[in-house]
């Protein structure tokens, strides 16, 4: 288990298999897992190639060290899993690509109301990558396990299959399949922001005007947000085939449901990129153009 730049939420979700830990953990011979055991990077680097049966890589590549760790994991592991949405699609931190790296550094270090001194850290720490690229453009993965984070149930299903040597069987449905709300196929008259009014608890949130990208999102979550009255923001990425463009699908779904002019949609949606590509910007068509622009700049 290795962690690039990440929040460790996938790790927490793994811990949340609760009493199943008592059977899963003793079945593992852990070779590297910085949250759990004291092996160092040099230990991992020293293992023979392909000597580790299964590796999970959580997080995205923000630094040179993240990239190094990802490549080392690929070299040492027979099966490498992209663990969680950041590892599969760039995730929320991929939204840093909306700006240039210098603008990011300005906000955090140079022009922040509580910092001073105009210093950018650089000593004994790995350099930042100028742009976030998807992990699968750096190495190949054998398995993608998306989710922000993947549910504990999904993790347990995957780990149990790996331990028994059987394939991981995942249902292909979207979030809507698991949503208890009723769809009446009525058009959206006005797009509402999520705090507006009180939603009808029994009707499709999208049909009530609340932007919900459940129909463009893989339902491995089993509808946990929509069934608590919360709109989907797409944290599991697109359904299989997993590299279709979730944002483009979500926008086209909006167009189908809302018979509004493009100008009205633009005015009412407020933030299309941050809404429809929140978790998948780096692997989207638009995001790949952004990465190519950066590459052209560096040539």
């Amino acid at each position: 288990m290795a962690q690039g730049s990440s929040c460790w939420g996938c790790f927490q979700s793994l811990i949340d298999i609760h009493l199943n830990l008592a059977t899963v953990l003793p079945a593992l011979d852990i070779k590297y897992w910085q949250a759990v055991v004291d092996y160092k990077l040099a230990d991992l680097e020293g293992y023979p190639d392909k000597s580790i049966a299964v590796g999970l890589y959580e997080g995205m590549v923000r630094t040179e060290e993240d990239a190094h760790l990802l490549k080392i994991m690929r070299a040492k592991c027979q099966t490498l899993i992209a663990f969680g949405t950041c590892s599969c699609f760039g995730g929320i931190p991929g939204m840093a690509n909306f700006s240039d790296i210098e603008e990011c550094l300005d906000v955090k270090f140079r022009e922040n109301p509580t910092t001073s001194g105009n210093v950018i850290p650089s000593e004994n720490i790995p350099a930042l990558e100028p742009v976030v690229v998807p992990n699968n453009t750096i190495v190949d993965f054998d398995i993608y396990l998306p989710g922000c984070p993947p549910t504990s149930r999904l993790i347990l299903t995957a780990v149990s299959a790996l331990l028994s040597g059987s394939p991981i069987e995942l249902e292909p449905h979207t979030v809507c399949h698991y949503c208890d709300r009723e769809k009446k196929e009525t058009p959206v008259e006005k797009i509402l922001r999520p705090y507006e009014g009180i939603a009808d608890p029994d009707r499709c949130l999208l049909e009530q005007g609340y932007i919900c990208v459940g129909s463009a999102t893989w339902g491995l979550c089993e509808g946990q947000c929509v069934n608590k009255g919360v709109t989907c923001r797409g944290c599991y990425g697109p359904p299989p085939p997993v590299f279709q463009d979730q944002g483009a699908n979500a926008i086209s779904m909006m167009g189908t449901y809302a018979p509004l002019t493009p100008e009205e949609i633009k005015e009412q949606v407020k933030d299309p990129l941050g809404t429809f590509n929140r978790f998948t910007y780096t692997t989207s068509h638009l995001g790949s153009i952004r990465i190519k622009r950066e590459e052209a700049k560096n040539k």
Partner: protein
């Protein structure tokens, strides 16, 4: 040729987050420098800009997957402060239930999975056994009580927040889902077993504290300032003012969150992407403060619940107030664990907790500058957002929990490094036999 030696510990293990250590030794093993290198940063403050502000509570939790609930709540409080919105009382109770449930599971995971392997197997055990997987193997009863505590907290968060990690139900103006009576009764039914596991944890912690008292009182004892939330002197993690205590134990500030810029200074260290936070009037490095469990227990007069308050009194009788004992963070964690458990019980028993009036229907965005603060398990958490008149987020400033500790960690590491490399203080420590010999 140089006599300088550099020791790198990469990565630091059994913590949440990314860090390494660099220790520079001169001739005669004189410690010349200690650096705590935090190795990455993801720029949330930048990409929150331009988002509709009500989306911030759905984005900001991804800063930390171990403590997403405090981020979710500090974020929604910042939006509500900027827009001048006050959610219904029952919504605040649900939020408090979520943050107390997180405090419970986070403190349990820290004590059992991150810290306990050192105490159970001894600090010099082989890395292959000094971990939680080995605790499961050698002490299955202890492991099960740990797992059950974590399960209680995480499942309660999922029930109130839709997801255990990165919850989604808090929204400007309240909560999107009330707690059903059926769910409330389910958790009330589990309270006695949970409290029983709390008592067992307290007993284990006391055994550990007594066995390692020499380490606690001698190693890495480092005076710093402390920061923590309080409500009229009482320990509070959801709402209150922010106290700052100096190295002598004097309360030198007790401020409203909105006034944070007068008190917070961020020093950008060349060797860490995480900044060093200090009390601005005292300056850097004199005003370096620490947050987290011991800091909170230092700044408050008392705990909010009876068993926790008795535990705090007992801790103060043993190590005093303020305590600068870095290893006493574990002790204070147990005091707070007790309080979180008591709070969960109190809130679940509150007849208002299933009230369905949990969301306003008439929230209006407006231009404003809002600060939301809560206590995350690892320290005081601050979100500051500026909104335009359409409710779009224009500027964000975040000072997250662990950030408050980076400079303090480095300072206490310097103390410990001098003790180890210059004085060999670790060789004369009274260490108990490991609970489990491997």
């Amino acid at each position: 040729m140089t006599d300088e030696k550099v020791i790198r510990i990469d990565p630091v293990t059994r913590l949440e987050g990314h860090g390494s250590l660099t220790i520079k030794l001169g001739p005669g093993n004189k410690v010349k420098d200690v650096q705590f290198n935090v190795n990455s940063t993801r720029f949330f403050e930048k990409f929150l800009e331009g988002r509709p502000m009500e989306e911030a509570p759905r984005i900001a939790p991804r800063i930390c997957g171990i403590c997403p609930i405090p981020h979710h709540l500090a974020s929604v409080k910042a939006v509500e402060a900027a827009w001048g919105v006050t959610p219904p009382p029952a919504a605040i109770k649900l939020r408090r239930l979520m943050i107390e449930a997180k405090q419970l599971s986070s403190h349990a995971i820290h004590f059992y999975a991150l810290a306990a392997p050192d105490f159970v197997f001894g600090p010099f055990a082989d890395p292959s056994v000094r971990n939680v997987a080995a605790v499961l193997k050698h002490l299955p009863d202890v492991a099960v009580q740990a797992i059950k505590l974590m399960e209680f907290g995480q499942e309660l968060i999922k029930t109130v927040g839709a997801k255990a990690v990165h919850p989604t139900t808090a929204i400007p103006g309240g909560q999107l889902a009330p707690l059903t009576e059926e769910d409330r009764d389910l958790f009330l039914g589990k309270v006695p077993e949970m409290l029983d596991n709390i008592h067992k944890t307290v007993d284990l912690a006391k055994t550990v504290v007594n066995a390692y008292i020499d380490v606690i009182t001698k190693i890495a004892v480092t005076p710093t300032y402390y920061i923590g939330m309080n409500n009229k002197g009482v320990h509070d993690i959801y709402d209150g003012t922010i106290r700052v205590m100096d190295t002598e134990g004097k309360i030198v500030a007790d401020f409203e969150p909105k006034d944070y810029t007068q008190h917070y200074g961020e020093h950008v260290a060349k060797h860490s992407y995480a900044t060093h936070i200090y009390h601005k009037p005292a300056g850097y490095p004199e005003g370096i403060w620490r947050a987290n469990t011991l800091a909170r227990c230092n700044v408050v007069e008392k705990m909010a619940t009876p068993l926790a308050d008795a535990a705090l009194t007992e801790m103060r009788e043993l190590i005093g107030r303020p305590s600068h004992h870095t290893f006493a963070y574990h002790y204070a964690r147990i005091v707070e664990l007790v309080q979180a458990a008591e709070w969960c019980k109190i809130l679940l028993e509150d007849p208002d907790i299933c009230n369905t009036d949990v969301k306003l229907s008439d929230v209006e965005p407006r231009a404003g500058d809002g600060v939301g603060m809560v206590e995350a398990p690892r320290g005081t958490l601050m979100h500051n957002y500026v909104s335009d008149d359409k409710g779009m987020l224009v500027k964000a400033n975040l000072i997250v929990a662990t950030n408050n500790n980076i400079a303090g960690i480095e300072k206490s590491l310097m103390t410990a490094a001098k003790q180890v490399f210059e004085d060999k203080a670790h060789e004369s420590l009274k260490l108990p036999d490991p609970l489990v010999k491997t």
